[in-house]
């Protein structure tokens, strides 16, 4: 079962903009003809010991029609007793998603693997089910961040990234931050509630005395130059202490692990950037304040604190920057926000002339194949395949500035433009779940499959979009019985072909062996179920090929709704 299968297909984007926030007011219907219940015992996944102070909730999962995605209100919490035993009385048959929490444990759904779990299916024929519900102790990473003198660094921003093995399909690695926190007065941070897995940590911090020494306001006052020992910055630092993300250590956590990851930051000379405002646009008169955003390999878009002074010639001297790639925006009165891309290297000061032609890629996007009115509601994202980060959203030239400065009106009609750093992106559609991309043609850019490479300057992408995704449901059996908790994979037959369909869809079977794959892109697939298969390294192509030999070929036409009963393979 995958409650958020629709979202998961786009989980690579940071824009889970779908209406997750609205909570439906569900009045549960009473008058149960029978008594339905889920009973069981809550145990520690490592040693099988009963879990104390646990509690559970059960939520009815609507099945079938796509219209019923709103999830009803959960029932509970129901407390487990001191021996971990619990009993949840339910008002109806159906598929229930049961979630357990306990202090010191990771909150988990039943038999949860990654983002999948098994739904508990109750019917009139089998109105009760007894579960052995395993939950993992939370893992914790703590550490301290000290400066070059061994003093604590306060308010350092510490990011935790979940690292995943590469997949054989084209879904980019979601290396976005799993969590972010700040250090306290002792320089101490903590990440708790962590599931077992592989993680990396980085720290971004300001050198307090450099920031304080330069804090003179955004004035034209003539300042004596700062002593070099105070004109410094901390580079983005990865555990155990490197500014090169390739040298970051991956921390492997098992359930219940407590790990320490300490940092000592070393300042480096800060790089100065001199921004020359666009004189023609009148920037000099109104002293536009720049916004500087660092683009890091960690997939993070973060505004960078810096100090700025206007020199007598009207240039803006920006200090306190560490080397890296930045997007600089300067907005004059009545002007659009104008982004410029710059790679800042250590050493001498660099100059950014805002009146020079932009080095950003200015991409016009046209949507074909569907009605214009429908095209208006489609949002197009360009995803950086190396980071999984959404580089831009169409029509949102000032997407970081909500409200008055937000540039609107660019998404009118079926054409829209977006400004992104030049590079290779995956095109992802959002907004209408039923739509899918059938092809891309490009002018002044390159398009291969769903991937495009856009250069500096103007280019155009024509997206061919079609309506009608398919769905696959069914039952996985093993030796004549339902295979519970099996991993189900729907593998495109064209996997590995860059022009073809490349997204592998997955699900986990429920307690009756059933599985549901919604919103599948039409095409040719091989359907596989692997009994107790969650330890199988499906990301390895040759392993996957072995299972595909015994899979079920499926041809999914637009809007097809296919039911399949399949035999689960041994792991």
């Amino acid at each position: 079962m995958k409650l958020t299968s629709l979202l998961r297909i786009f989980s690579i984007t940071l824009l889970v903009a779908c209406a997750v926030g609205s909570i439906a007011v569900a009045q549960t219907k009473t008058t149960p003809a029978k008594s339905f219940s889920i009973t069981g015992i809550l145990v520690n996944s490592t040693n099988g010991a009963p879990v104390q102070h646990g509690s559970l909730t059960a939520t009815l999962v609507p099945r079938g029609s796509a219209g019923s995605r709103q999830s009803p209100a959960p029932i509970g919490p129901i407390d487990a007793d001191d021996h971990g035993r619990f009993s949840i009385t339910l008002p109806s048959a159906g598929m229930w998603r049961v979630v357990a929490s306990a202090p010191g444990y990771v909150t988990q759904a039943y038999d949860e693997h990654e983002s999948f779990s098994s739904g508990i299916v109750l019917t009139a024929a089998s109105p009760t089910l007894d579960l052995r519900f395993q939950i993992a102790r939370e893992a914790v990473i703590t550490g301290s961040v000290l400066d070059e003198a061994g003093e604590p660094v306060r308010n350092a921003s510490v990011s935790l990234l979940a690292i995943q093995a590469p997949r054989p399909d084209s879904v980019p690695l979601p290396t976005r931050a799993r969590a972010r926190t700040s250090t306290d007065d002792r320089g101490v941070y903590e990440f708790d509630d962590l599931s077992p897995g592989n993680y990396q940590i980085n720290v971004q911090a300001q050198v307090w005395y450099a920031m304080a020494a330069q804090q003179k306001g955004f004035g034209t006052a003539n300042q004596p130059p700062l002593a070099p020992s105070l004109d410094v910055a901390y580079p983005l630092t990865w555990y155990p202490g490197t500014d090169d993300s390739a040298e970051a250590e991956t921390i492997s956590l098992d359930a219940g692990d407590n790990r320490q990851a300490d940092f000592q930051l070393r300042p480096i000379p800060s790089v100065h950037l001199r921004i020359l405002p666009d004189a023609a646009a009148g920037d000099r008169r109104i002293q536009a304040y720049p916004m500087i955003e660092k683009i890091s390999a960690g997939g993070r878009f973060g505004f960078t604190p810096f100090s700025a002074h206007i020199d007598p010639e009207g240039g803006i001297d920006v200090g306190g920057l560490a080397p890296g790639r930045y997007v600089v925006r300067l907005q004059g009165r009545g002007q659009a926000v104008k982004p410029a891309l710059i790679d800042i290297t250590s050493g001498t000061a660099q100059t950014l002339d805002m009146s020079a032609p932009s080095t950003m890629a200015n991409v016009s996007i046209r949507i074909d194949g569907i009605a214009e009115s429908e095209a208006d509601s489609v949002r197009v994202s360009l995803i950086d395949p190396s980071s999984g980060r959404n580089a831009a959203r169409d029509g949102a030239g000032g997407y970081f500035l909500r409200g008055a400065l937000l540039r609107r009106g660019e998404a009118e009609g079926a054409s829209r433009t977006m400004e992104v750093p030049p590079g290779r992106y995956e095109v992802v559609l959002m907004g209408k779940p039923n739509l899918y991309l059938t092809g891309i043609t490009a002018q002044s850019a390159e398009a291969v499959g769903r991937f495009v490479t856009v250069p500096s300057g103007s280019s155009t992408l024509n997206l061919q979009v079609a309506d009608g995704r398919a769905s696959v449901t069914g039952i996985a059996n093993k030796d004549g019985k339902p295979s519970v908790g099996a991993m189900v994979l729907l593998v495109p037959a064209t996997l590995g072909n860059p022009d073809g369909l490349n997204i592998i869809r997955r699900d986990q079977t429920n307690t009756d062996g059933s599985f549901d794959l919604d919103d599948v892109l039409p095409g040719q697939y091989i359907l596989i179920a692997i009994d107790r298969g969650w330890q199988v390294n499906w990301k390895d192509s040759s392993t996957l090929n072995g299972y595909m030999l015994h899979g079920v070929p499926l041809e999914l036409r637009p809007e097809a709704s296919v039911k399949e009963e399949i035999e689960a393979q041994a792991p």
Binding site: S22, I23, A24, V25, Q27, H53, S55, T57, A73, P74, G76, P77, D79, V99, S101, A102, P103, G104, T107, E138, V140, A149, E151, P152, R154, D184, D185, R186, E190, D192, D193, W208, Y209, A212, A213, K216, A221, Q223, P224, L226, A227, S229, L230
Partner: protein, 484 residues
């Protein structure tokens, strides 16, 4: 105060900056200026004794070396645990500092932190008087439960200034183990019997035990904008909804009882919040030579005197309405009027009907309004001057004049001349005052008589009549005696 040297503090002087060395020493060479200012910064310290940032003046010829002083911050530490002893992680703990700005007082959010996986928290703050509170939030240990807020000192304590706050000194650590109630929450659905227009409702629930819950309101759907849903544990509550609209504020109150199940059918009947126009007049004897002030220059506020007033409603400011008249929009409650002098003008009297607002609270019930508040100003002021001395030597000082006769202002503050120790008030209202001088800025609740008790021998009483220009020399309270 340890008087120990502090290394790696940033000392700034006229735009230049250095870090102090191991013995706390710093040096600026080739100083061409004849005067300037020092500022010193270090994380975890404040340069002002009350937690602020101060500058130290310097003149050529001043005795060397210059000594700059830093005061360590204070810290609240503690734990947050459930009634069964389980630590509660990720609970937001907030410290609100009592703020005295001369014309009134309020609670200013000053520091906050989340509990860690062991339920521990650390909130660093400048010294002062505080309330420590945990925010209502969902329980990460059990979905579907909410953690109710707790406060230190406990909610409903007496409203005297000694017990409604916790005092923390520079460098001090105070530890509190907090035990909020953890409870299942139920959905409460309410409707407004009139359109909200573009307004967004803010709803607060108050239980019989004084528990106050700001409720995150969820609109259940976009096409039913007059419906609000919220989550509450079992109990009986007074719900207050406030909506800001173009026409002014509207408010509604209703009660709801939650008993182990979701509740619907709660109705809010919105009514306009009472509007009290404010009128200004000159005292009969006032000469017209001085430019008359307008009401906005008098810094008029109404300060809620209920100790558990919602922080957002604790101070009400004047608004100018479309017809250019000036008014207070006042939800039902009890208030104290505060204001300040403007140039040569001071607030001689203030009244609401028969209530003397310089001596009595303003009490507003629902549905009243229309009756004006009358402010009378006068320019018949007095002046006061003198010299501050520390150990007999003229000294830099902060002078505080605290009226003991009815006044809209609780304290008149002045920084003396750092060169010769002299001070001079040009325009103060006639009346009786207590006068005290401190070596540094000393922010405190001067409306509380207990504030001046420790400085008894140095506090001087003075009565000044209109037109008089008396002299009053003051004995400065040294920094060492100011530590609280």
């Amino acid at each position: 105060m340890t008087n120990l040297p502090i290394s790696r503090a940033l000392v700034q002087f006229n735009g230049r900056a250095v870090l102090t060395g191991r013995e706390g020493k710093f040096e600026f060479d080739q100083v061409a200026e004849s005067a300037g200012f020092f500022q010193v910064i270090k994380p975890g310290f404040y340069s002002g004794i009350d937690g602020g940032l101060i500058t130290t003046s310097w003149r050529v010829g001043q005795a060397a070396p210059v000594e700059l002083r830093l005061y360590p911050e204070a810290i609240f530490t503690g734990t947050v645990t459930a009634p069964n002893g389980d630590p509660l992680p990720h609970v937001l703990v907030s410290a609100r500092r009592r703020d005295y700005d001369g014309s009134g007082r309020g609670w200013v959010p000053t520091g906050q932190a989340q509990t860690d996986s062991h339920g521990r928290f650390r909130v660093t703050v400048p010294p002062g008087d505080y309330r420590l509170e945990t925010m209502a939030g969902s329980n990460r240990n059990a979905s579907g439960q909410i953690i109710l807020p707790v406060r230190v000192p406990a909610e409903g304590s007496s409203s005297t200034s000694t017990s409604d706050s916790v005092h923390i000194r520079s460098g001090e650590e105070l530890h509190f183990d907090l035990h909020p109630v953890v409870s299942s929450a139920y959905k409460v659905t309410a409707t407004f019997d009139s359109s909200l227009g573009r307004g967004f409702p803010r709803i607060t629930a108050r239980s019989g035990h004084g528990l106050r819950l700001p409720l995150p309101v969820k609109e259940s759907s976009s096409d039913a904008s007059n419906v609000a849903t919220m989550e509450l544990p079992s109990g009986t509550y007074t719900l207050t909804a406030s909506v800001l609209s173009l026409e002014g504020s509207e408010q509604a109150q209703t009660t709801v009882t939650v008993t182990d199940r979701d509740v619907s059918g709660v109705v809010f009947h919105l009514a306009p919040v009472p509007v009290l126009p404010v009128e200004l007049q000159m005292a009969g004897v006032a000469t017209s030579d001085n430019t008359q002030p307008n009401l906005q220059q008098l810094g008029l506020t109404l300060e809620n005197t209920e100790s558990d007033a919602e922080p957002m409603n604790s101070t009400i400011r004047l608004v100018t309405r479309r017809d250019r008249t000036v008014a207070f929009t006042v939800p039902p409650g009890s208030y104290r009027l505060r204001g300040r002098s403007s140039g040569t003008w001071y607030i001689e009297s203030a009244s609401y009907g028969a209530t003397d607002l310089l001596q009595q609270d303003l009490t507003i019930g629902p549905g009243v309004g229309g009756t004006p508040i009358r402010i009378t100003v006068s320019d018949q002021t007095a002046s006061l001057r003198g010299v501050c001395r520390l150990g007999g030597v003229p000294s830099d000082c902060w002078v505080y004049l605290i009226p003991s006769t009815p006044s809209a202002e609780t304290v008149f503050t002045l920084h003396g001349n750092s060169t010769d120790g002299s001070y001079s008030y040009a325009h103060i209202p006639p009346g009786t005052y207590q006068a005290v001088a401190f070596a540094e800025r000393y922010t405190a609740d001067y409306s509380d008589p207990a504030t001046l008790v420790p400085f008894g021998t140095r506090v001087r009483a003075v009565t000044i009549s209109a037109g008089e220009k008396p002299t009053l020399d003051l004995d400065v309270v040294p920094t060492a005696e100011m530590a609280r």
